[in-house]
Symmetry: D2
Amino acid sequence: MSLALNKKELAEYMAQVFPQVHRDFEVVELTEETITMRLRVEERHLRPGGTVSGPSMFGLADVCVYALVLARKGRQSLAVTTSSSIDFLRKPEGGADMIAQCKLLKLGRTLAVGDVLMYSEGSDKPVARASMTYSLPPEGSAASAFG
Amino acid sequence: MSLALNKKELAEYMAQVFPQVHRDFEVVELTEETITMRLRVEERHLRPGGTVSGPSMFGLADVCVYALVLARKGRQSLAVTTSSSIDFLRKPEGGADMIAQCKLLKLGRTLAVGDVLMYSEGSDKPVARASMTYSLPPEGSAASAFG
Amino acid sequence: MSLALNKKELAEYMAQVFPQVHRDFEVVELTEETITMRLRVEERHLRPGGTVSGPSMFGLADVCVYALVLARKGRQSLAVTTSSSIDFLRKPEGGADMIAQCKLLKLGRTLAVGDVLMYSEGSDKPVARASMTYSLPPEGSAASAFG
Amino acid sequence: MSLALNKKELAEYMAQVFPQVHRDFEVVELTEETITMRLRVEERHLRPGGTVSGPSMFGLADVCVYALVLARKGRQSLAVTTSSSIDFLRKPEGGADMIAQCKLLKLGRTLAVGDVLMYSEGSDKPVARASMTYSLPPEGSAASAFG
């Protein structure tokens, strides 16, 4: 078990393939089984009342697992989210960045599953919990993961 | 069982409380137990490859159930998403709007649950399925649904 | 699109491969995209207070999607549950059988997803909603779906 | 924050209210935020091929969160499962007991959420991950959590 991409390579590759969103996210820490990701909270991530929106938290969780699969499998890998469950636990603080701690529970031949806890920076009470399942199309396969 | 807000009142109220996002969404049809909602797909909803992003679909499903609870309970109602599950079934088409068909499975005293099927407009194969649970704080209560 | 097994063949095959549980379940109706399944509620399915237990409802939903995949793909097919979400909506009645209505949302090359609504017989208010994702190992593959 | 019931009191109370199932489970460890629970795997928990069944794992996860809420809130507490998501990660071993490690992510006024990792005893690779949401009816309320 080892990383195909280190933290710097991962950040560069994400900036290249996701130009729209990569400025929202920062890879804080990367190991073979975990990733810590920051969502830089800005106006567009907020809901009335100043809390971070549900779609922003969904996106944060999704990026975590995607990035961790990428770091393990390498740039040629394809991975498509197939299912997700999220529990919203507490009101996030709008004035703080969000920090996601993601753990890879499984990286199989065809499926990857990651678990994510999200916090408002500076708090130790989780704001949300998510799990994301990714389908991994066979390497060299032209078929999409939706096949 | 009846609607506290009709389709026009619902759209006006959402425009007022969600100025950031209401232009993305259009209430297509509203009954006491169902709502059909359009996501006007634009550049910012897309991912590389031209497909609608996961967070955009999460947001569409979330808005559906929120709007339906609002239409039933009225403007004074508070509702907070507490949990969600989504299955991504097929690749959405980037060039088409998304149409969500939502059914209210439960509108209880403290919890509401809605089920949502999402389609690329013009197709009858669902792109995603979601269920969203909302917590409904007691009326007149100062306590948040996160309590 | 057609059925590899009809209703009678499906029931016989399930009796053969799941001798422990098949007497709990009855295939009520089968089409290419839907199945209706009865759970014959007995003492062992109940919780104190006389309601049907959560595990029994989980099992009912699981059997529905499994059986529908089997009916479509045939006896040689392998399918393993990989994820599931359930919402419990109302208290089931202990004195009534449970009827599940399952719809196949997707039957792809590697994944199948089904949606299930469960009712206490005689009521039109759903007691629970579930979605189940099955992994379908490549035919002829020795690899398990957990690979 | 403290426990209303210690490990011994919890086990005794569960034996009393769940006579059907308590012999399946053993509280291994209890803290204010975590519980470790053993499922004593017997013939009736197995599926063909000798693996632990999905409903048995669902039941194990459900019991964990229920027991932890009970230990915190006390015997008078009512708690009803309202939603659940499970990811099945690896094939469990039929010949080994299952050990569940559960963490309480939230214990609010009206909702409790717990996260559960399940292992075949002796292995450090999780077999399944679950999250369970419980609705907590107001104390002294005659209304059910399904209200």
